[in-house]
Symmetry: C2
Subunit: 564 residues, 2 copies
Amino acid sequence: MEFNLWGTPDEAKDLSASVKKMLHKMLGVTEPSPRRELSEVRLSPVQLSDADLAELQGIVGAEYVSTQQEQRAPRARGKSYLDLVDWRLDQVIAAPDAVVAPGSEEEVLAVLQWCSQQSVAVVPFGGGTSVVGGLSPLAGDHRAVISVDLARFDQCEDVDAESGLATLGAGLSGPHAEMLLAQHGLQIGHFPQSFPYASIGGFAATRSSGQNSAGYGRFDEMVRELTVVTPKGILHPGQASPATAAGPQLKQLFLGSEGLFGIITRVRLRVHPIPETKLYEAFSFPTFADGVRALRTVEQTGAGPTVLRLSDEIESSVNLTSTDKIGEQDESAHTGCLAITLFEGTTQHAQSRHQETRALMQRLGGESLGEGPARKWEEGRFGAPVLRDSLMDAGALCETLETATDWSNVPRLKKAVGEALAKALVHDGTPALIMCHVSHVYAEGCSLYFTIVGAAGPQPQARWRAAKQAATQAIADNGGTVTHHHAVGTDHLPWMDAEIGALGIEILRAVKREVDPEGILNPGKTFDLSAQSRVGAGNGPAATPAASGASTLSPAIDEGGEGQ
Amino acid sequence: MEFNLWGTPDEAKDLSASVKKMLHKMLGVTEPSPRRELSEVRLSPVQLSDADLAELQGIVGAEYVSTQQEQRAPRARGKSYLDLVDWRLDQVIAAPDAVVAPGSEEEVLAVLQWCSQQSVAVVPFGGGTSVVGGLSPLAGDHRAVISVDLARFDQCEDVDAESGLATLGAGLSGPHAEMLLAQHGLQIGHFPQSFPYASIGGFAATRSSGQNSAGYGRFDEMVRELTVVTPKGILHPGQASPATAAGPQLKQLFLGSEGLFGIITRVRLRVHPIPETKLYEAFSFPTFADGVRALRTVEQTGAGPTVLRLSDEIESSVNLTSTDKIGEQDESAHTGCLAITLFEGTTQHAQSRHQETRALMQRLGGESLGEGPARKWEEGRFGAPVLRDSLMDAGALCETLETATDWSNVPRLKKAVGEALAKALVHDGTPALIMCHVSHVYAEGCSLYFTIVGAAGPQPQARWRAAKQAATQAIADNGGTVTHHHAVGTDHLPWMDAEIGALGIEILRAVKREVDPEGILNPGKTFDLSAQSRVGAGNGPAATPAASGASTLSPAIDEGGEGQ
């Protein structure tokens, strides 16, 4: 993962002429946006002394403390549109003052205790895929900020295949974790779009949700126990058994805590046999409402697909058009809404789920499109963020946002968010392309995931901030959650008060004071409303988050579980 | 529900001669234990002045404050064996000084604020079914204790049938809640053994789990949002949508909090259409290990029965013998382990689940016994606690305890707990009857539920305390949870330190200080280790719980979700 891209420079290919033409003609994209090399980038000066660095080296070893540009730059920003634009601008980028990679819980504890004594803030780092400002190196009122990299927590331990449990190091990437489990014939089944890069610890810290959530659940549902290092000591929040009535669930305070309460170093989680069978089927529904009704019925009946998703009319049309045809008039263009189903497990299990789901989908107006579009979706499912790099090179704004709501509220919420985005993103008379899909279903409701492509314009960050502000306010005003799986970071912070209430925030702060009395962990994020936020920029509904210029930011958090 | 029984006096019928003979011959039961009438019972003197009572009446209305014996007695104890024995002894019973029934959240808040100012402890009361000392009226260091009865929170509101959500008053009993929902064609699907009496608020406060948990989940999994009144204000912990990544899950602090953080007044929870079809099938397995393997396979495959349970050899033998044959030699006595399955939902859904489950059960050694034993189990499933009243009259000790663990640990835990109980409960050379079943299954493991019948002996409470102490220590030492669904109350308090760790307890205490600064809510329970506990009696592993004599107890909590 390149510091200034989602993927590698090789992956971010130049767009075809037809796509470029479409961007220009339909979206008003004009000026390409050149990337900068790492050597051209200016990072903030290191605020730690040689004596500080020597003390940190004394804890973790000299080779695991770095102040080099190559180490600091990839830990200075996440992978949101705002983050990636930052690297293209001629400005000083605030970066962590050092990158420290402890190798054991004891070393993490010693680092946190040193930072508490020395008033140095800490931003935990897993895979670096936050799309909500979770990595911003904010120092709060501390004198410096370090990035604590979990990369050395990379083991798979204590596999209990009978019970379907394994303990994984927080620094393991999705593919690395799956590779280690595959040696036992097991898998996690967690495939968010960030899967290739994001880490096990980050999935837990951000309540990530993957594309197979209909079958395997959200990541937070898979977690049995965490190992968390706080400045006050090492905790193992979790359960002594698969279920318990022994009081409040402490692990639910640490899941989604985004590094504010401690650093997650290990995760014991539910794992599954690698499936015998995978069955695919796509359907087309006349309207989005028809498709939503079918998804709701399938989920509430308990028919049990592993993947269940639905694109709206615009996204379906883009998905079902081959790339070289984009932008051309096509008489045979798809007009319905594409639904994808996938069934995993034993052969009998997958077949019976498939039959029950197909019967419901067809009864409710779905026309089978066969396996093709479902397999095509699976093949390309990690590709969209890489495409964004190319779109940004061409001068396009490209970003996603997500929410969730009850089934009965889906039409209202989708309309409100779509309209807020459309209104905010008209540029020189050209509209933005706004696509939406449902990719996570629950008995009570579903997620809504919006993808936006438009012209970057002369002030791309201000343009996106205004659109995100409008969309998030529409979410808060229309019964959605401020984030279904991207987490809070700095971007959603101004709406936390609306989301959980003032007394709720006071409770979380009471917990924080208990485990992190000096407030060194990720100041200025998630529910730390005293701090700055990027998106709210003084406009959010919460208690006066100060306006923030990107270049004055200093410290940040664990990487987010970026979505699909 | 009679103050000194589980059921009504009518329900607690005299045992047949053959059962009495069996109790005598096999278990050494000799002396009957007579019940006392309410008029014979001596309650602790009321510690509130007329001025206090007038102030409480000013808040909730004169008719909703009572110091009468008829009101205080049923709120003085729960329904554990220790509780029920208390009523049979010639002693003063500590009771709440008054019973107060507020009619709105504002009235609850005013009562809690008055109690905070006046140093009066509060024990919330739902259905009164706690079997873990949750109702003990402990005052801690306060001058008195009141029972706050939620009975007036008895409405069903905001039904959203499309999303499958409804808001229910915390004081609604199981049957009353189901009756209100049935008017909308909906049900909860939560059927713990306490169902006839226990309350919606109590289910949430204790993380109750019902017999249909394989299909509908635990009660805590059904809860979308709570309304909780704390001395610091009214909270709505929950989620703005079916799922969210907006930080820690605050509702998970209040689920299982057993009244320590606040009083739950309303619960918004997931509801389901009343099923079209119910299918039943029982199986017999040669051994408990065979049955456990089959249950594990069914659950891990995702075959999806609504009910899935398995009795061990002894319990199967008792369950499959007709009552009038108990105690007689029977050449045709059942020798295997009885498994019960039940499938609910749409006809297609129930049938496909049934087929998949049956195929797995049979492949793994299960012999079908047809519908009969499964229907018989369903008919009698709320009957066992009533039978306990009769057994106690006859002079028997009868109690249950429960735990849960991973599949790989089931044999070790069952053996350890069974042996600890057997060793502790031998009386005058006669053993106790110790039965065990699995009634809740998860991908990773299952619950183990023990039912014990033996001779009460001359010191029934000391005898049970010793057995419970030995069994719980065996659970803690052998990888089980101290409670799967009975909750903590006072009885499991000494093991909370082992269950969640010292720093975990400090975090919960930090939350408590934030929402209940005067510590009026349920002092001496769940994680309040400074307080007394009944069972630990100084022998538990946790930080010095003081020894407690039952007659010196003063205040207590919300009723528990008693099991099956």
